[in-house]
Symmetry: C2
Subunit: 380 residues, 2 copies
Amino acid sequence: MDFKDGSVGIVQPQRFRCEQPITLQCRKTLPHYELIFETYGTLNAAKTNAVLVCHALSGHHHAAGYHSAEDKRPGWWDACIGPGKAIDTNRFFVVSLNNLGGCHGSTGPTSINPDTNKPYGPDFPIMTVKDWVNSQHALMLHLGIPHWSAVVGGSLGGMQAMQWAMDFPDLVRNAVVIAAAPKLSAQNIAFNEVARKAILSDPDFCEGHYYEHNKYPKIGLSLARMLGHITYLSDAAMREKFGRELRNGAISFDFNVEFQVESYLNYQGEVFSKNFDANTYLLMTRALDYFDPAQDYDHDLRKALAQAKARFLVLSFTTDWRFSPERSREIVEALLAARKQVTYADIECPQGHDSFLLDVPRYINLFKAYMNSIQLDGGN
Amino acid sequence: MDFKDGSVGIVQPQRFRCEQPITLQCRKTLPHYELIFETYGTLNAAKTNAVLVCHALSGHHHAAGYHSAEDKRPGWWDACIGPGKAIDTNRFFVVSLNNLGGCHGSTGPTSINPDTNKPYGPDFPIMTVKDWVNSQHALMLHLGIPHWSAVVGGSLGGMQAMQWAMDFPDLVRNAVVIAAAPKLSAQNIAFNEVARKAILSDPDFCEGHYYEHNKYPKIGLSLARMLGHITYLSDAAMREKFGRELRNGAISFDFNVEFQVESYLNYQGEVFSKNFDANTYLLMTRALDYFDPAQDYDHDLRKALAQAKARFLVLSFTTDWRFSPERSREIVEALLAARKQVTYADIECPQGHDSFLLDVPRYINLFKAYMNSIQLDGGN
């Protein structure tokens, strides 16, 4: 094995089958379900060092390490998880799962619906962040974890960390909310809607039953991903990466891919559309749209957060225009108004929303310092 | 007739058929072509009061007034053109045309290709801002206009005003460049590419020959427009207009249109896709991508603008994120470095890029003051 320092090395996904039914916010019930997950590090004897990592829109359980010695790409958050890293696996026992409704091994639209013996497809119930937290709670019980030392996530993952602190205040010591927002803006919803429309209107979507028709809405999903990708990068990052460079040096006066940035986006869309399920993508964008924890508290985020007992770390990135620093500050202000302990930093970084996935020293150092400050004695 | 004060009233489109061939930047030649245009106000005896209005991505010749007494919607820039308005038709003779390649009456992809006796479709040559300026110059000669008192436009229209000042320095006294940019950023190109991809990959696009197949890439064009529309509005304007309001009051847990903003975007996409030609949309986005007047001057905008003799008015809007105020300031700085006369204002306005079309008092007053300061004696 020749992995670089700081890697958790080779990891094996595990499965949890929950035989308890789960009733979802949409009022539908799944009689049982499976969650695929990975763990990194070791649960200490006192069981006080568990950290839950929640994934974002297109994430999954494989957050760190490699699946084999030949594996070239590590997990999606390998920049932050490993021995000596921000989430130090010498200290913490890290749990990372694929959310319910996902397409990487947990029960979702591609799973067989026991009622029909066909894939659920579009009949898989719509999930909310609250539903995910409930299913993650079942996994927690299964693993015998009495509380999370921290629940951590970026973007949609950060929303899950917030929801955990609100729904299970006694089970969360720290909530790390990175590049998130208290709810989506109209513009955020608008981008999601165009992405959904691209998928739904692809003739190969077959109203979501594409598996049975042996078809796949590749073009729609590819468009959705291209569009999403634009919102993950800052204008500055795109300029830095591609400028206005032409692929072949000169303008060709046609509608073929000409600029480097077009080529990059097309490639991203193409790859993604081969590796992700369209019904899951629809689900994930709706979960984002619906996230609005203040809704049941007179639209007052302070009231929604009043019940939380966790300490909070909130991080934003200066060039993130998907969930801008202002959105993180709304969370911070609500936490302060609710007299919660909160550490906040707006990290100067050119890469936009995607920064939370990257090895940005200023970010990693701050994140690490916070995680290292966490006491593992059962208190905060 | 019961039009409100300040309207130019009922107007009639006119046609100019140019029998001179035009050779385009793509090296193709159109042997002849037609431009549809409207005029408002009267050319004075000295012929010193002509103003050319250039349209943006989805614009056309009908910029002001009404086509009939029953017509409910005035031209697209009626907020700025009319008696007593910013471009005062009591003073100026305004010419507004549909650009070559357009789909509102000028020669474009829907026109019959004399070589095949079928619509040009995808074989219509790709146009550039420079080509448009050349065709507009032919119209100018046809109308017997010796110079433009001003060339005026917003967005892609502002780019044409800049190009005029560079290509025909002796024929332009003033260039009014509103909400424009000296060239597109990688992010701007990326949005255009997703829009194009949506159209090109619509099965009803038929490689651009949809007319012959009696089909139309309605879904692709609708997606392109929805996406464009997001970039025309500021996040704040969307919040103001829609917030996160649900259409039916409560979440329905499905993928139907639920939020007001989704409904609005879908409507916009639907209407647009019925009234615009997909091949023209592709052309227009490529003209935007290719606009880069500094390219032939060592990528130095100052050098490109050195030849201009016009006075410039440059306007931007604080919440425009499509072509942000920074992009306008790049133009201003290049003009100052080239020792040109330039007036610049960044107008505080919540509506984003679309502000240039709206009746925003601060904007209109400034625009009007500038236009009123123009001497009509043949000098500046």
